[in-house]
Structure formats: C-alpha cells, structure tokens
C-alpha cells in the first residue's frame, strides 16, 4: 500500500491518506478528470499493468483501482 500512497502524493500532495480507499475524482483539490487520467497512466507504469479502455473511464476511485489491480495479479 505504501507504493500507492506515494503515487497518490506525487499527483495530489494534499490528499488525506488516512482513508486512502475513499480517495478519487472530486475528493481532493485538483483531483479532476484530467489529473485522474494522468494518475491512471502512472498506476499502469508503477504496477506494470494495462487497464482496458472501459476501465480507464470507469475506475474513478482508489478502492475500484485496487480491486482491479488485485484481479490483474498485483498483491497489496
């Protein structure tokens, strides 16, 4: 989970990390759809996975992203 927290901080330095799973688009200053998109690209790089086109549009918060990453074999 540390790697995910670091990634979140890189893009959204003001994010409240006490409830990581609840974070997502609209929850934190500057976490808009454009920055979320950049964040998703970084998640792919970080965990060496590829989201499908649908996933890129639909995974809007950390809890969904983590679920998807687990399905792709990433362990947390």
């Amino acid at each position: 989970m540390e790697s995910m927290k670091n990634l979140i901080l890189e893009f959204f330095p003001k994010a409240d990390l006490s409830h990581v799973e609840k974070l997502g688009v609209g929850t934190t200053e500057s976490w808009d759809s454009v920055n979320h998109f950049n964040f998703m690209m970084a998640v792919e790089e970080e965990y060496n996975v590829q989201f499908s086109t649908e996933e890129i549009s639909e995974l809007k918060n950390i809890s969904q992203i983590i679920t998807s990453l687990k399905e792709k074999g990433v362990s947390f």
Partner: protein
C-alpha cells in the same frame, strides 16, 4: 525561465509525469487542445502567444484529416486546414516548433504497400512536402518529426488507442516521454552555444589497437569487422568537419609514429589537414587541452573530448570540468551512430562562415605559433599583410551579424543579443559596421562589428562593439573603432557615449574604452569627444 505555449490537435495530458523534466526547465503553458486555430488566428493579440518565448504546435495529421479519406489530402486542402498556422507565422517572429506525426496514415498492410496503391502514403508525402516548403519560407519555423523519434524505440509503443478513445490523447506514456525528451533536445539547440572543437584520442579511438605496441601494419582500420566501424566513425568525424566543427588530436603516443599513420596508412579517412592542432606527447592530457584553448583562443566550454579510456575521461572531468566529456559506448560498432546523434555539434542553420571555420583556425594556429617566436609584435603584424575592411549591414551580411551578436562572449562590450529584426531597426538609427580581415595566411571573414545609434544630431551611443576572439591582439579592434568614429564624424556627431557591461565572460574587453581615451560621464557611462580625437597610429595595417 523561458516559457512555451503548447498547442496541440489532441490532448497532450498537461500535468503528466512525462512533462516533468521539461517543466523544470521551461514554463510550459498548455492551451486547451481545441483552441489552436482560433488562437493562431489572433496571433500576437492572444495573451498566451504574446507571453510565450516559444510556441509549440503538436500536429497529428489524423486529427485534422480523416485517414479513410486520404485522397483528399493535397496542397490546397493543407493550405485551408492550416491557414491559422500561416496566419500565426505572419503575425509573430517567435520561434514556432511544429511537432508532427502522420502515424495513422502510415499504418498499412504489406499488400497495399507493395505497389503503393494506397492513397495514404501519398497523403503523408504531400503533408511532409507541405511542411518542408513552410520551413523554407519561414525563418522562425522549426520541425520536430515525432515519428522519426518514436521509431527509435518502436513507433507502435509510442501510441495508445485506449488513451485516445478514453481521453483524446494520442500518445502512450512512452510516447509522451520521447516527445518531451526530443523537444528538450530541440530547445537546447536554441539555448546552448554549439560546440566548436572535437578532441580525439588515437589508439582504440581512431583505429583499433595500440600503435606503439602493434605497429602500423597491425592497427585496425578499414576492411571488415571492427576496423570497418573505426572507418565509419572517421567518416562521421569528417562529416562534422565539413559542418564547421574543428578537430584536434590529444594522444599519448610518439609523434612520428602517429604522423606516419596519417601520411601512409591507405585506409585512414582522416588526413593531417583535417586537424587544426596535434598534441601528441606523453604529458597530461588536461595540460595539452589547456594549451589548445590558448593557442586557438577558444573557451574550454566549446570543447568535446572523445577518448575510449574511462580513466582519461575521469581525469579530464576532474581537471577541466568545462570540457564536455563523452561517455562513449563500450561497443565501437555503436560509435558512428552515437556521434551522429549528439545535438551539441548541430545548429539550425549553417552560415558560410561556419563552413570555413576549420581553415580559419588553421590560420589562427599558425599565427599563434609564429607570433610566439618573434620579438617585435608590431613588426610581425606588419609582415603578415593584414587587410581590414568594413562592410555595411546587407541581406548578405545580416545572418553573420546576428550570429556574432549571439555567440561573441569575450570581446563584447555590452553583450547585446540582437535578432535580425533588432539589427534592421538599429540600422535605421545609426551606422552599423562589420569588420572583415584578411592576411597572408587567409581570409578570416567578418570578425568584428559595431552598432552606433545616433540619439540627437550631436551625440551617439555605442550599442554594440564586439570582436571574434580569434583576431584579438592585432589592433584590429582599434582600427574598427576608428572606422566607427569616422563614420559618425561624417554624420556630424560630436560625442560618442559608451559603456562596458560585465557579463562574467567579457573581461578581455574591460579596458578597451579607457585605453581608447573615453572619459567618465554620468550613469556609469563613458564618453569620447570626437572632434578632439586623435586617431592612433596603428602602424600595422
């Protein structure tokens, strides 16, 4: 920090990790990607364009033309589609960088490709021709061929259809990374002075093997295998020389042995004449390179050092940190391409002066050698038959004048980096003189310049006075100042104001004004009363 206005036909993902390096060096302002055409039409009236130093336009052909309708891409259609770009070019002199890709038009199956039956290839051809024409017509337009850069890591890795359909971004993470990296390299072409001198080792650099141990018959150059790689490396070096880069040798070897290779080895591409200076001895390379700098009057920061030996490289880094040291690949087979890819030796446009460089420094090296051996400098200077001339600013001399302003660091009173337009405007305000010099060793070309602006009828200001460092120490600067004064007196000017601005690099010109009898005036400036000016007898011309 300089700023770039970034326009695009698709979403370049502002805030993406891949822009981070670029954003640390430039203030990157991303325009909304749909706004390029309206902003370009507004031109300098658009605030974003007005405030930018550079304008980047990322142009992906398939964002503008449908690749299933490729037959429609022709010159006329391109002119219509990119009319806003034309309009921007007409309204600004800022550097405009067009980063383009025609990738989607280039995806075609092998059968369609085989007889060129697809109209997509013709579309790409039309598009690139159109761009090339624009570059020829517009001095401030520069191209970045993205597909070409992408192809180095595999072009399909650089595009990502998922991102396109979910976020209108054409490029993958890797693609953005290559884009940002090549853009940074391109921008450095504007910001960094081109390197001037390539210093090469001999053994295992120009040829394979150690000459002193193996002898001239056994060294590897030419033929097959690694010898062929050394030959190709030499060809690349020779090409750099044809582009105006100076070559030198710094090698721990016996001088006669190396000369024998240059004189008699049939496979050597590089000949003695290709080098402006040889330092072949057993002393420390850094000492040798300091001597080269002195003898050629060139700054160490314009030197590049290529040596296969990592220990020599490390020592050079420590001893002379200003010198750029190339960490060349272990594998010699990679050297020819590696050398070709270095941007440090490139510049956007080569002037006729650049191409004559090597010859001129040959002359300079001979001159330094001779002058060290004569007792009376003035007698010597008289004997070399110097012929100075002053030229006015014309279409033929303008490029060189801009270049002198941009590149002269040492003998430059105010280091004003004037553009073409600046100079054309200044030319209305007073005399501009370009000094050229010939001597018995050859033609140095235009090596000095003054710009004086007449402020009211009686007073003028010396906006620029500079001299290329390769002719320092010949009284040419005094001669050129005389020409400037004569020209001003003819126009009725009585007082010439001037100033020295310390740039950190121009110490050599610090005393020039005092030495020529300028006296202190107000605001840190100095002044010369022209009517009482007694022209110095220079005796050397």
């Amino acid at each position: 920090m300089k700023s770039i206005a970034i326009y695009s036909t698709n979403n370049l993902m502002p805030g993406n990790r891949k822009w981070k390096n670029l954003s640390e060096k430039y203030n990157c302002v991303f325009a909304d990607y749909a706004t390029w055409s309206s902003d370009f039409i507004e031109g300098e009236n658009c605030q974003l364009i007005q405030e930018a130093d550079y304008i980047l336009f990322n142009l992906v052909l398939s964002d503008v033309f449908d690749n299933t309708q490729a037959q429609e891409v022709n010159e006329q259609a391109l002119n219509v589609a990119f009319m806003p770009l034309e309009s921007l070019l007409a309204s600004t002199n800022k550097h405009i960088l067009v980063a383009y890709s025609s990738y989607e038009f280039n995806i075609e199956n092998v059968v369609s490709y085989a007889k060129q039956s697809s109209s997509r290839f013709r579309a790409v051809f039309q598009f690139e021709n159109w761009l090339i024409q624009k570059v020829q017509d517009n001095k401030n337009l520069y191209l970045l061929n993205l597909d070409n850069q992408f192809s180095q890591i595999g072009i399909s890795n650089c595009f990502d259809s998922r991102l396109y359909y979910s976020g209108r971004c054409r490029f993958s993470s890797q693609g953005l990374s290559v884009f940002a990296h090549s853009l940074l390299n391109l921008l450095q072409g504007f910001e960094q002075a081109r390197k001037k001198l390539l210093i090469l080792d001999c053994d295992n650099t120009l040829w394979g093997g150690v000459l002193g141990e193996e002898g001239i018959e056994k060294i590897l150059i030419g033929q097959d295998g690694v010898g062929k790689a050394f030959e190709d490396f030499q060809k690349q070096i020779k090409h750099l020389k044809s582009q105006g880069i100076l070559l030198a040798i710094a090698s721990k070897n016996n001088y006669e042995d190396v000369m024998q290779v240059f004189d008699s080895h049939p496979q050597m591409i590089l000949k003695k004449d290709d080098f402006v200076i040889f330092k072949i001895n057993w002393s420390d390379k850094a000492e040798n390179i300091k001597e080269i700098a002195e003898e050629l009057s060139l700054g160490l920061s314009s030197f590049v050092f290529w040596d296969d030996n990592p220990i020599e490289r490390e020592q050079m880094r420590v001893a002379l940190p200003e010198v750029m040291v190339i960490d060349c690949p272990e594998e010699v087979a990679e050297w020819p391409n590696y050398l070709q890819k270095l941007t440090e030796f490139s510049q956007f446009q080569l002037t006729a002066e650049d191409l004559k460089k090597s010859e001129q420094y040959h002359i300079r090296a001979k001159f330094s050698n001779e002058i060290r051996t004569v007792a009376n400098k003035k007698d010597y200077l008289k004997s070399i038959e110097m012929e100075p001339k002053v030229l006015s600013l014309t279409e033929e001399t303008l490029d060189r004048a801009v270049q002198l302003c941009a590149k002269t660091n040492q003998f430059n009173l105010r280091t004003m980096r004037h553009s073409r337009d600046d100079l054309l405007k200044l030319n209305e305000l007073g005399p501009i003189g370009l000094g050229s010099l010939k001597d018995k060793f050859g033609d140095h070309g235009i090596v000095g310049m003054y710009v004086a602006t007449i402020q009211d009828r009686r007073t003028a200001f010396l906006d620029t006075f500079l001299l290329s460092c390769r002719v320092i120490g010949r009284y040419f600067e005094s001669w050129l100042l005389n020409q400037c004064i004569l020209s001003l007196k003819n126009k009725g000017v009585e007082f010439l104001y001037a100033e020295f601005i310390d740039s950190g690099k121009n110490k050599v010109s610090q005393n020039f004004l005092n030495d020529h009898h300028f006296v202190n005036a107000e605001n840190g400036r100095v002044v010369l009363e022209l009517n009482n000016y007694k022209f110095e007898q220079l005796e050397v011309f």
